[in-house]
């Protein structure tokens, strides 16, 4: 009987190609979108789940509370926090610091910049990694050793058996040979820990003992069942004693009054956390709400596809009514007819599924590009997901097939056989389904428009400056004379329009105004040329200028938000104190531009041009002609002046 149903179903599909194609492709499209979204959500939710100690690892995080009650949250700490806490809090069984750096590596014919992580030698006791070469427990013991991934082993040595081979790395200002002591599998895409090269942190000469300086990730291993709140209380005590002198100094020197609270963030929370984000080389955080939201959309789309399926089936039911009558007259029961129509919808559904899988497969690369992920198709084939998909298959099959089956099988044979069937007025359900489908579709169109405009905001919103053709290149050891040389060399290419030294993104500093108001604006260290390079506009006063040689030590520029936040009436000419140390006179106010996230309102900002503060990067404006050639030129110039740079382009 089943084979007979399938035969009929198949022939119905063949005989009505238009119906079948529209039905199958509609459902397939819905399913494909559903699958892509499932992959995305799975990736988000499965992040870091494969680590054996996922529930025992915590990250040390800090809350900094100003006297005004403003709270800033840092996912990072300094070098000293980890060892100090581990030493005195007995619950901690292992501690790993994880600090991203960029190093120049000398290969046979070139110098390349490589991201690497300084880690404690117990790293592999905490974070799983599969060693394809070398010994897991001895790997990071010798300070001159490194562990690299298979990918890097192939890149630098053309083999994955790289243990014993050496790499010439610019470490602590000199090129040294490091010996590969282990080769590990490339980290899974859904891991926060994406290190491709690990170097023992005890190799570094950096003995920074600052308690109020946060720039690396520190992880603790704490056995399950431990009272975490209690451990955090211990941290507070340890900090209060160990950091006492530094806090006192900071209060004296730059009026530091903030309250620091150290907390433990469960490892699994990091990826999706909004407060304490994945930073310093940890893979960037996602947004859990977005995942739920997408899941909702996936369900809606599937629902629309099902309703579409139902509507088409109902529309066709009149054509099928004669068959129902005949079958009933011949001896079919209603149950058998329901089975028949259900198997038809399942067959259509099956084709839709196969097509959906093919669509997913072909769309995955584009989707990855759009969503900035590396989802793999093989992801689909895990037991849990397969169950979900089989459930979706059954659900859509039933959802889409059951009502039409019920409707069709309920036809009165006498009416159908004599052609008296009339669905015209009475099928309220179909009417309401069509209305529902229409509303959902409209909703999605509106939603898409809103999304599009939202996305467009980032592209077209006036940032307050021209962000096109602007390049930032980091370089170490920038001096005034070197900057001059670089600028001259760069300008030999007419496509390089302007060059300014700046400090790399997002330093904050302490500033007090003449009325004694304390502020924490973002600070840009630069020179007079920035106004041209970025294309900023002045609200009042002037920008730094070569005509005022005193600017570098005496003058500061602020933005409108700074003036507003500082409640300043007549900013020009006022004196501000930076870092409780240096006095500058405000000579100009620039119009606000977005220098942090677009989600934020424009933050207060102060510009100075004092070389003492150090720069660290070049901001270069190029014309939009011949960009590849210009970039090559820039690379060459920077390399010639900073031969062993930790440069990043």
């Amino acid at each position: 009987m089943i084979s007979n149903y399938i035969k009929i179903a198949w022939r119905n599909i063949i005989i009505n190609p238009l119906y079948s194609v529209s039905n199958i492709s509609g459902l397939a499209l819905g399913l494909a979108i559903c699958m892509l979204i499932t992959l995305f959500v799975k990736d988000e939710l499965s992040f870091d789940q494969f680590f054996t100690k996922k529930r025992e690892i915590y990250r040390l995080v800090v809350e900094e509370r100003s006297p005004e009650g403003e709270v800033r949250k840092f996912g990072q700490t300094g070098l000293i926090h980890g060892p100090s806490f581990q030493l005195q809090a007995s619950a901690i069984t292992n501690m790993v610091r994880y600090q991203q750096q960029h190093y120049a590596i000398k290969t046979d014919d070139d110098i390349v910049v490589q991201s690497a992580f300084l880690v404690d030698s117990t790293y592999f006791n905490m974070f799983d990694a599969t060693f394809v070469d070398g010994n897991k427990y001895k790997a990071l013991y010798d300070p001159q050793s490194i562990v690299i991934t298979k990918k890097l082993a192939e890149k630098y040595f053309n083999t994955i058996s790289a243990v014993g081979k050496s790499l010439n790395i610019n470490f602590d200002e000199e090129f040294q040979n490091f010996t590969v002591s282990g080769v590990i599998e490339n980290p899974p895409v859904n891991s926060s820990m994406q290190a491709e090269m690990l170097i023992p942190i005890h190799k570094s000469k950096n003995r920074d003992n600052q308690w109020i300086n946060f720039y690396i990730n520190t992880f603790f291993e704490i056995p399950e069942g431990t009272d975490i709140a209690n451990v955090e209380k211990q941290f507070a005590l340890i900090f209060a004693t160990d950091a006492k002198d530094q806090i006192a100094d900071a209060a004296k020197e730059w009026n530091y009054k903030d309250q620091l609270t150290f907390k433990l963030q469960p490892f699994l929370d990091i990826h999706l956390s909004k407060d304490f984000k994945a930073v310093n080389g940890m893979k960037e955080s996602g947004n859990i709400l977005f995942s739920y939201f997408l899941s909702g959309i996936a369900l809606f789309i599937l629902l629309i596809a099902c309703i579409n399926f139902i509507n088409l089936a109902i529309a066709r039911s009149v054509e099928r009514s004669k068959e129902v009558g005949v079958r009933k007259a011949i001896g079919s029961t209603r149950k058998q007819l329901i089975c028949q129509f259900l198997s038809e919808s399942f067959l259509l559904n099956g084709f839709a599924f196969i097509l959906g899988i093919i669509l997913t497969y072909t769309a995955l690369p584009v989707f990855n590009q759009l969503s900035d992920k590396q989802l793999d198709f093989s992801y689909l084939f895990d037991a849990k997901l397969l169950t979900i998909f089989i459930a979706i298959f059954l659900l859509t099959g039933l959802l889409a097939g059951f009502y039409p089956a019920l409707l069709l099988s309920g036809f009165n044979p006498v009416e159908t056989l004599y052609g008296r069937i009339n669905l015209g007025g009475k099928n309220l359900l179909q009417k309401s389904l069509i209305v529902f489908q229409f509303s959902l579709a409209s909703f999605f169109i509106i939603f898409a428009i809103v999304q599009y405009r939202q996305a467009n905001l980032f592209v077209t919103k006036d940032l307050g400056y021209d962000d096109q053709n602007l390049i930032e290149i980091e370089a170490d050891g920038m001096t005034l004379s070197k900057i001059g040389v670089v600028e001259n060399e760069l300008k030999k290419d007419p496509s390089v329009l302007n060059v300014s030294p700046i400090n790399p993104c997002c330093w904050m500093t302490g500033v007090s105004t003449k009325d004694g108001k304390e502020m924490a604006p973002y600070m840009k260290v630069t020179n007079y040329n920035l106004i041209n390079t970025m294309g900023l506009t002045m609200k009042e006063g002037r920008f730094f200028s070569p005509d005022f040689p005193g600017d570098s030590t005496q003058s500061a520029i602020v933005n409108e938000s700074f003036v507003k936040a500082g409640n300043m009436k007549d900013p020009i000419g006022q004196t501000i104190k930076v870092m409780n140390r240096d006095n500058y006179q405000i000579v100009g106010v620039v119009r606000d531009y977005h220098h942090t996230s677009l989600y934020q309102t424009v933050q207060p900002q102060v510009f100075i041009s004092n070389p003492q503060q150090g720069w660290g990067a070049f901001l270069i404006r190029i014309s939009d002609k011949n960009i590849p050639k210009t970039l090559d030129h820039i690379k060459d110039v920077i390399k010639s002046q900073f031969p062993y740079p930790s440069l990043q382009i």
Partner: protein, 225 residues
């Protein structure tokens, strides 16, 4: 075979009530061949459908094969007619998506006949209707006469005791109509009871008895032989 008493059928639609049958008392005995005649709209098809358990009467009693079936539910009626009644319609009513063979096989599938036996019975029914050479054709590829022969094959394949035919020759030319009538007569000679609606006095001539309907009532009964 069957017996009705004071059978009534009233169709109620939104606008009107139609009394299609109005007190039908009818008995058909085993092996009989009955023709039902009368003007269009007088209730012939309605009567046939009720006799065939496709529909139920509004009023009255209907004894089929010793069982009172007038008040049965749709599901119970389906069970009672399965394998016992074969239908032949004016418009053939073959399933377009199935081949000749599969159409004829369908009643046996619903009776859960084993596949070997199914094959034998379908083939013998087709041979008898002289349709074996068309077994793998689809209905649309056949002439009207051929389609009706397939429909008869389908009606007889389960060897029912009763065949109900609603204007079986209505859509056929006279030569094909005559073929069909001969087939029905043969079946009747082998013992199958037949009730047939017809407009054609010639076709009615094959029956033992003619019942005339008018406005849902039996007005005359004619016995020949």
């Amino acid at each position: 075979m069957l017996q009705t008493q004071n059978l009534q059928k009233i169709f109620t639609t939104e606008e009107v009530e139609t009394t299609a049958l109005n007190g039908i008392n009818l008995e058909i005995i085993d092996g009989e061949f009955v023709a039902i005649m009368g003007p269009s709209g007088c209730g012939k098809s309605t009567l046939l459908n009720i006799l065939g358990l496709l529909d139920s009467p509004t009023e009255g009693s209907y004894n089929f094969h010793g069982t009172e079936v007038a008040k049965l539910s749709e599901r119970q009626r389906a069970r009672h007619r399965k394998g016992k009644i074969g239908f032949v319609f004016q418009s053939f009513n073959l399933i377009d998506e199935l081949t000749v063979f599969e159409n004829v096989e369908l009643p046996l599938l619903y009776l859960k006949t084993p596949s070997m036996e199914r094959k034998i019975r379908v083939e013998s029914a087709l041979e008898r209707m002289n349709m074996m050479h068309r077994r793998n054709h689809f209905p649309q590829q056949l002439s009207g006469g051929q389609q009706q022969r397939v429909a008869i094959a389908r009606a007889v394949v389960a060897k029912p005791k009763l065949i109900l035919a609603d204007e079986p020759t209505g859509n056929l030319d006279s030569a094909n109509g005559k073929d069909v009538m001969k087939l029905l007569q043969e079946l009747n000679n082998e013992g199958t009871t037949i009730a047939m609606v017809t407009h054609s006095p010639y076709d009615a001539g094959f029956s033992h008895r003619i019942i005339y309907l008018f406005d849902g009532k039996i007005v005359t009964e004619n016995f020949h032989v």
